[in-house]
């Protein structure tokens, strides 16, 4: 329901983070899918809409510097809400890493996953408060 997958892809087309919900795809299929979608989004200009229809679902994307955040959602999902959700995700990461950049995500991939998992569960947005999301992660950091 809602969100089907979340992808973070850089301008060269390398996937930095991929999280799938409810989609049963093999590894090859995923790579193919990612390639397809990324090509579509990279080819778009800034003026064009951030919502793209692809097969039987929609892709909501946003570009932050060199990184594209792509979220695949069902057709009846509210796109603007998802767009803002992407921004919320970025803000959360920003608060945690302090001025987050692509390298941060690469080096602390597990933290990015933790954050995403706190926010989205089984395709539904479950938590939108930054402090609640970051709390367990901060605890982990403190304990280690």
């Amino acid at each position: 329901m809602g969100i089907r997958f979340v992808l973070l892809v850089n301008k060269q087309g390398q996937t930095r983070l991929a999280q799938y919900y409810a989609e049963h795809l093999t590894l090859d299929e995923r790579r193919a899918l990612e390639g397809e979608i990324v090509r579509k989004c990279l080819a778009r200009t800034d003026q064009q809409c951030s919502f793209v229809e692809h097969r039987n679902y929609k892709i909501v994307y946003r570009r932050y510097a060199s990184l594209f955040f792509l979220v695949g959602v069902d057709n009846d999902e509210n796109e603007l809400a998802i767009l803002e959700f992407i921004h919320l995700f970025v803000e959360t990461m920003d608060r945690h890493f302090g001025n987050v950049c692509e390298l941060d995500i690469m080096f602390h991939l597990e933290k990015a996953h933790f954050m995403l998992e706190e926010m989205v569960m089984n395709g539904c947005i479950v938590e939108t408060s930054k402090s609640n999301i970051l709390m367990p992660i901060q605890l982990m950091d403190k304990a280690s």
Binding site: M1, Y20, L27, F51, M121, C124, V126, M140, A143
Partner: protein, 861 residues
């Protein structure tokens, strides 16, 4: 570190699912909330399949195991409801876990029981939990609205609370807007409810909506902007829905923008085009259907490939739903096929054919159109199929128009023959046959041409084509039968359009049906009414095709059924019960039931009288139906005698329990027969079944498969018993030995299988020689007591074509040896795994294979 350990443990456990499910139970009782949280993360977390196939399988397994686990479920329910004891984190996950289970198996959640709990949950203060509860709520409500009315005011209250920014912790405020996501979800949930009755609630809701609608301005901050507009659009959707219910003006408003929408159909951005297409599809109704469909067809020429299939399908559906008249519909579909042939699925042209068949006035028009299209040089294959079919069925209606004589039509179609694939060739062959049928007065040249084509395809590699060619040639030689077999198709019964089904294909395991789709399904449409007339020649095609398939049937049967034709219409009241016409007892004489088993293993052998003609006869002409006789004919009348009351049996055969004669020509009557073996013999009972229809006498002799091995009961004996018996029986006639030559080489296991199927129990341990086989059985009969029979087969591994068989039994007249010999020696002519031996022309009493009624009759007649 501990938490990290927990996380890693989560991943580790999640990868071995069985462990996970097992660990859930102990977790249920533990009070440590961390462990509880872990256990709850599993099902939702497992939803994200990380490793593809392996996890797929295991994931499904979890769901299945989890759903019936009632205690786990109750635990979750309890958690979700009890607000004080558990941490919000746990409750969030519990709600989502429940959601997932609900998605998988809607029966898991007892809908009515949950409405109180739901409303309690919606009172939740913590917004995180509220977010997940909202998701759960939306899912449940999408399926079942009525039970959740009491939750409706709660939703409105939530919206109010968020709208006024009351009681919302700072962290949930996103750029000044309190949790936009919850607002969006709530409104989505509200969409599922039809108009709100309660005026207070309604007012509150409208107030909220108004504030949203008015208060949303374009703000510098992009994010805030987006969030605000997200809520706005959701509200708009809601409002539109409300409006649509109260007032039907919306449709008109939308229509006025129709021109605009059509322009946007050509917009360079694909998303806009898609949207425009959806919108056009949604707003189509009788008045504007024509324009819209024509517009779509135009667009089809220029559309990119991705959209064409969808376009084609939607155009077809719209045309069907809203066609002002049928000929226009046929036009549209043919155009569609012409332009976008690759994307038109078979369903679409089947539908056209259905319509044409059901509407007689449409037929000449459709045929003419089809012929027009055929003249084009480059024609899509589907078009060829449709045209060929239509012309085949209805070209005779065009006979008088210029350029449409049968010959010309044939020539035109024939031109396309080399260019099409095998499936189309099959259809073309049928068309040719139909053309031939309509060929009156017969044009020998045309006939010759068509026959030569059939002959050419008689040896085609494709089975379907070959069969058709052969059958059509045979049919042509039958003369009159051709007309009836290839008569016009009867009208189709009304069926839901396969197209609509296709278009509404929903995906498994994803979002709830959107409220919009539900509404559109509820809207009535002016669907073309498919006339539903029961075919007038209802039973005929069936029985005649049945005839055609049994080529060996005698010609008398044919005639009877044609008389059927004339008389089927009459279905009068049966004035007298037929048995009263039955002649005196001596003719009826020996009836059913000759051989039956004495004692425990009773073999009731059901004999199906698979003679359809019989029953249709019975039904059709009660007055003319003559006397029935059922006799047993046999070489040695002594051994076979009826043991059942004949008249009773006969009644059973022909009448239903209520005493009324069977009227339905299609039912088969099963008449179980019991057989008792009176004496061991190799004779076979023959059932003589005859009846008189009008003046024609029909007689059918059916050999009954009550052969000697049916009266054997396999039995195992110990070695001592065996050798005792074996030694006690010495020499002929009790113990017979013979060397069989010319046997097909069979391995011992195969022989063992054969014996088992003949009811001879193979006893493995008795004979130590590995090349030998021992089998024992008991024979039951009326005249003798149970007789034990022992069989030893000695095979020679070096030469499998011969073996020595020794049979010992207490009864000298038991001809078991002959029987088994038959099987072993007959085996060369068929595969060893078959049980029943095939017909051997030399031995007249050899039993017949009963697999095929045609062969059965052929064997007898």
């Amino acid at each position: 570190m501990k938490k990290a350990g927990v996380f890693i443990a989560f991943l580790a456990v999640a990868s071995s699912v069985a462990l996970a499910v097992a660990s859930l139970d102990p977790c249920a009782s533990s009070s440590s909330s961390k462990v509880v949280q872990l256990s709850l993360s599993l099902p939702p977390g497992l939803g994200s399949s990380r490793e593809g196939d392996v996890r797929l399988g295991s994931r499904k397994g979890v769901e299945d195991k989890f759903a019936p686990r009632f205690d786990g479920l109750r635990f979750i329910e309890m958690l979700v409801t009890v607000s004080s004891s558990c941490r919000p984190l746990v409750r969030k996950k519990a709600a989502l876990c429940l959601l997932r289970l609900y998605r998988k198996n809607p029966d898991v959640v007892n809908i009515d029981g949950w409405s109180d709990r739901m409303s309690q949950l919606l009172d939740e203060r913590d917004l995180g939990v509220l977010t997940s509860v909202m998701s759960l709520f939306v899912a449940i409500v999408s399926n079942n609205v009525e039970a959740y009315w009491n939750c409706l005011p709660k939703c409105v209250k939530i919206l109010e609370r968020l709208g006024r920014n009351q009681d919302v912790p700072q962290e949930y405020t996103y750029h000044g807007i309190p949790s936009p996501w919850i607002q969006v979800k709530t409104m989505r949930a509200l969409q599922y409810f039809p108009t709100i009755e309660d005026p207070n609630t309604r007012r509150a809701l409208f107030e909220v909506l108004q504030r949203i609608l008015m208060g949303t301005d374009v703000v510098k901050n992009v994010n805030k902007n987006n969030a605000v507009h997200a809520i706005l659009f959701e509200a708009l959707a809601l409002e539109n829905m409300t409006r649509m219910l109260l007032v039907s003006d919306v449709q008109d408003i939308i229509k006025s923008h129709q021109a605009q929408i059509i322009i946007s159909l050509k917009d360079p951005d694909i998303s806009i085009r898609r949207r425009a297409l959806d919108l056009l599809y949604g707003m189509c109704d009788v008045t504007n259907a024509k324009d819209i469909v024509e517009e779509l067809l135009q667009y089809l020429n220029t559309a990119d490939f991705a959209m064409r299939e969808e376009l084609a399908l939607k155009a077809a559906i719209l045309a069907e739903k809203f066609a002002p008249d049928l000929s226009w519909y046929v036009d549209v579909i043919l155009q569609l096929i012409d332009k976008a042939g690759d994307f038109v699925s078979d369903d679409i042209w089947y539908r056209v054919v259905q319509f044409v068949t059901n509407n007689e006035d449409l037929q000449p028009y459709a045929a003419a159109k089809a012929r027009e299209y055929l003249e084009k040089p480059a024609l899509h294959e589907t078009m060829v199929k449709v045209s060929a079919y239509l012309l085949g069925e209805y070209s005779h209606l065009l006979a008088r128009r210029t350029g449409c004589t049968l010959k010309e039509i044939f020539i035109i179609i024939n031109e396309k023959l080399p260019t099409v694939t095998t499936s189309t060739v099959a259809i073309l062959l049928s068309t040719y046959a139909k053309i031939l049928m309509h060929n009156h007065p017969p044009d020998p040249e045309l006939q010759e041409q068509i026959w030569s084509i059939f002959r050419k395809y008689e040896s085609c590699i494709d089975v379907e084509i070959q069969q058709r060619a052969v059958e059509y040639i045979a049919l042509c030689n039958k003369g009159a039968a051709l007309v009836d077999v290839l008569a016009e198709m009867p009208k189709f019964p009304e069926r839901q359009s396969a197209l609509l089904k296709k278009a509404e294909v929903a995906e498994v395991d994803t979002a709830e049906q959107s409220a919009i789709r539900i509404r559109s399904q509820q809207q009535t449409s002016n669907a073309l009414v498919v006339t539903d007339q029961r075919p007038t020649e209802g039973s005929l095609p069936v029985s005649q095709l049945g005839l055609v398939r049994m080529p060996s049937e005698a010609s008398t049967q044919d005639q009877t059924s044609f008389q059927d034709e004339g008389m089927t219409k009459e279905n009068g009241v049966i004035t007298e019960v037929v048995p009263q016409d039955v002649p005196p007892a001596d003719l009826l004489g020996d009836l059913l039931g000759s051989l039956a088993i004495n004692g425990s293993p009773a073999t009731a052998v059901p004999v199906e009288q698979r003679n359809q003609n019989l029953l249709s006869v019975v039904e059709a002409t009660p007055e003319a139906a003559g006397p029935f006789t059922l006799t047993i004919v046999d070489n040695q009348p002594n051994s076979i005698q009826p043991i059942v009351n004949i008249a009773e049996r006969f009644n059973e055969l022909c009448l239903k329990d209520s005493g009324v004669l069977y009227e339905d020509p299609h039912i088969q009557v099963q008449c179980p027969l019991e057989f008792v073996n009176l004496r061991a013999s190799r004779d076979v009972a023959v059932l003589d079944f005859s009846y008189k229809f009008g003046t024609a006498m029909v007689n059918v002799k059916l050999r009954l498969p009550a052969v000697i091995n049916k009266f054997l009961q396999p039995i195992s004996v110990t070695a001592e018993e065996f050798f005792d018996q074996w030694k006690s029986l010495s020499g002929p006639p009790l113990k017979l030995q013979e060397v069989l030559r010319g046997v097909k080489p069979l391995s011992l296991p195969e022989i063992a299988n054969l014996f088992t199927s003949l009811h001879l129990a193979v006893n493995p341990g008795i004979d130590t020689n590995p090349n030998n086989l021992i089998a024992c059985t008991t024979f039951y009969s009326e005249s003798t007591r149970a007789t034990l029979c022992l069989i030893r087969v000695e095979t020679d591994p070096s030469d499998r074509t011969q073996l020595r068989i020794t049979i010992a039994s207490g009864d000298p007249t038991l001809t078991l040896k002959e029987r088994i010999k038959e099987y072993l020696v007959n085996i060369p002519t068929q595969t060893p795994s078959a049980v029943v031996a095939p017909l051997q022309p030399q031995s007249p009493v050899t039993p017949v294979a009963y697999n095929d009624p045609g062969a059965m009759l052929a064997g007898l007649l």
